[in-house]
């Protein structure tokens, strides 16, 4: 087993283990902090896959933005003296059956399919330059649409939470 495989298995264990904590933890705060480790594990897997720009984006957007927003959501929807922040679980048995069935099906598909892999042997190169050129060239239209979508979504979110004075 070479170093690459050791790092891969460590990152995979970190990602999947902390994702299990996210789903199974009794406390919302534990879930949120386990989510931090899941995001970091996924960022590490991106690095192993040679996607340096995406790994950085993952850390910036998910850890710096989305996780903080989720923590705000946890804090703002509970009273401050409500210290344990419980989150109950319902319908656990059918949910577990469905999730286990999905995992079995997806794993079987991943293992049984003859994937047409070609690029696995090439050495990882910096990707930021290529991504920037594609965004400004072939993918300019989706890029602009995504920026407008972000603007509209953030303005809409501000509109939704605004307290109405009249009406």
């Amino acid at each position: 087993m070479n170093a690459f495989a050791v790092v891969f298995w460590a990152l995979a264990a970190l990602t999947v283990g902390s994702a299990a904590v996210v789903v199974l933890a009794r406390s919302l705060i534990y879930s949120a902090f386990a989510l931090l480790f899941t995001f970091m594990g996924v960022a590490g897997l991106y690095l192993l896959l040679g996607a340096d720009f995406l790994a950085t984006t993952q850390l910036l957007v998910y850890v710096g933005g989305i996780l903080v927003l989720l923590l705000f959501g946890v804090m703002l929807t509970h009273k401050l003296y409500d210290l344990d922040l419980r989150s109950e679980v319902t319908q656990f048995a059918p949910g577990l059956v469905i999730a286990a069935g999905l995992f079995g099906l997806l794993t079987l598909t991943a293992l049984r399919t003859e994937w047409a892999t070609t690029g696995g042997g090439r050495a990882p190169a910096p990707t930021t330059n290529q991504i920037g050129e594609l965004f400004m060239g072939r993918f300019l239209m989706p890029f602009e649409a995504a920026s407008i979508l972000l603007l509209v979504a953030l303005m809409g979110a501000a509109m939704i939470v605004r307290r109405k004075k009249d009406a």
């Binding site: 899941t38 995001f39 929807t77 995992f103 696995g120 290529q130």
Partner: protein
């Protein structure tokens, strides 16, 4: 030798755990965390195929768009959760049944 199926299986595990979270949690913020797990698993698949497949950088670009959508989604969803909390003093999804006739 670590190959494409390894990443796909990690991603399948993330996806199933996210589905479990969405299906079994009562708290809406916790359901959102499950959704983030699902989006991350999709991204992992895209990047893995971008590395091992013949599509080049396209998979990574798709992953960037998924991250953008996830950011927009979580902002709007938290706005809805906060409004629901202000209205009903709860963040449990099964108590949000005002629209039921």
């Amino acid at each position: 030798m670590i190959g494409l199926p390894h990443y796909l299986i990690v991603s399948a595990a993330l996806f199933s755990l996210g589905t479990l979270g969405v299906l079994t949690r009562r708290n809406s913020v916790n359901v959102l965390m499950g959704l983030e797990l699902i989006l991350n698993s999709a991204n992992l698949n895209l990047v893995a195929f971008s590395r091992y497949g013949s599509g080049g950088m396209t998979g990574q670009l798709f992953a960037v768009f998924v991250i953008v959508i996830a950011a927009a989604e979580v902002a709007v969803a938290l706005a809805i959760v906060l409004t629901l909390y202000r209205l009903k003093r709860t963040s449990n999804l099964d108590e949000a049944d005002i629209l039921r006739g």
